[in-house]
């Protein structure tokens, strides 16, 4: 009876370990495609610039957003996505999510033209892990304790 119990324990544990091993190997091999976006630094480190459409994630650089004819005209806008290490210029024509603003984390999807230029056909806002009332955010900003630049990582 005890022997049987031990056998079942090994069988059950073995099933888990085998599955965990198989999944760990698969995920390691596929990590390039599981990752949802490249950061500008990761993109700069690639030996060959990808020709397929890619996603790029980072912060919208302060002061880089340019609307040629106003924010709601639906005209092409340009901005710079940065992760502190490298920068990529993005041009985009279409609707922007409400959270899109300078200093905000974004994920843009599109094709690279040239080493540092991306033509986006989709822009997503990335929300960070911080939740607080507006008054608290304002107070933090006032005291200069606002952590800038950690939203897109």
């Amino acid at each position: 009876m005890k022997q049987k119990k031990r056998e079942r324990l090994y069988m059950f544990g073995g099933a888990f370990i085998a599955a965990a091993g198989a999944v760990a190997l698969t995920l390691t091999a596929l990590s390039q495609s599981i990752t949802y976006f490249y950061t500008p630094s990761e993109l700069a480190d690639l030996e060959e610039a990808p020709t397929r459409p890619i996603r790029l994630g980072g912060l919208v650089l302060d002061g880089s957003v340019k609307h040629p004819t106003g924010p709601t005209s639906g005209e092409q806008i340009t901005f710079v996505v940065t992760d502190g290490g490298a920068e990529v210029r993005v041009s985009y024509k279409g609707l922007l999510p409400d959270l899109f603003r300078e200093g905000q984390g974004v994920v843009v999807q599109g094709k690279l033209i040239g080493a540092n230029d991306l033509v986006a056909d989709n822009v997503l806002a990335k929300h960070d892990e911080n939740y607080m009332p507006k008054e608290v955010a304002d107070a933090l900003k006032e005291q200069g304790r606002w952590k800038d630049g950690d939203a897109g990582s």
């Binding site: 324990l9 059950f12 965990a20 949802y36 822009v123 997503l124 929300h127 939740y131 607080m132």
Partner: protein
């Protein structure tokens, strides 16, 4: 004076008493009234927690500095996502108890946890989607967190389907237990998906090394709602375990009825 020595026989006695007390609940006559009492307590606690949680979450908590009132979706979404993981872990643990130690109630607990966990997972995916549209600008993204939770949902469905596909309950329990433990690999992947890969989903806000990044005024309703979900799970589990045990008893009685020779039934 020397301390009283624990002899080998007292230890064995203690172990026997312990295992007897655990196995005692395998007897439906013992389990029934206990489950009934737990059900009542958990049901009332769930209502109280949900009442306070929804009051604070929807009416008496601040709007977020970025998300505005959309942040209130969090009070429904985050507890659902946590319970999705908790239920799967509970399912895997009771599957182990059923598979290795053959505790008769463990298989029932695992089986009855699956639909509840699947419902929590669906709720997490659904509320996440209606949060994602206004915040991210997309209903869905194939990032690691969202995809692994979708896989969790399918694991629940597969587990439930397996129970239905195999007629013999003992065999179904064994096969389903193996599926549950193999699928358990997905649980840490979900938890750490936001750390291991770049993902659109935000990293952990509560269970993180440097403490929660959610303001206390928002943490209160969140924890109240987690209490509500947990109590609701316990109440639903007790109710559906009793149903399952009753259904099995009916099936057994009917089988005995059919087994009787025809002339005996007539007289």
């Amino acid at each position: 004076m020397p301390a009283p020595q624990l002899s080998a026989s007292t230890l064995t006695d203690m172990a026997n008493t312990l295992s007897k007390s655990i196995y005692a609940y395998a007897n439906p006559a013992v389990f029934e009234p206990v489950a009934e009492r737990i059900f009542r307590l958990a049901f009332i606690a769930a209502l109280v927690f949900a009442g306070f949680g929804l009051y604070f979450g929807l009416l008496n908590s601040p709007a977020d500095y970025q998300q505005g009132d959309t942040v209130r979706i969090m009070y429904v979404h985050v507890p659902a996502a946590w319970m999705a993981l908790f239920c799967y872990s509970a399912m895997a643990a009771s599957s182990a108890a059923g598979f290795i130690w053959k505790h008769p109630l463990a298989d029932v607990a695992a089986k009855e946890t699956a639909p509840i966990g699947a419902a929590f997972t669906f709720l997490a995916l659904f509320t996440g989607s209606i949060w994602g549209k206004p915040m991210w600008g997309a209903w869905w993204a194939w990032d690691a967190r969202l995809t692994s939770v979708l896989i969790l949902f399918f694991l629940y469905l597969g587990y439930m389907a397996l129970w239905r596909a195999v007629a013999d309950k003992t065999r179904a329990a064994r096969l389903a237990a193996i599926l549950a433990i193999v699928g358990f690999v997905n649980v840490p992947i979900i938890k750490f998906s936001v750390d291991w890969w770049n993902s659109l989903h935000q990293p952990a806000s509560v269970l993180r090394a440097d403490g929660p990044t959610i303001h206390p005024a928002m943490l209160t309703p969140l924890f109240l709602m987690i209490g509500a979900y947990m109590c609701a799970y316990i109440a639903m589990l007790m109710a559906s375990m009793r149903n399952e045990l009753a259904a099995r008893r009916i099936a057994r009685l009917e089988a005995e009825d059919h087994a009787k020779p025809a002339n005996l039934v007539e007289t």
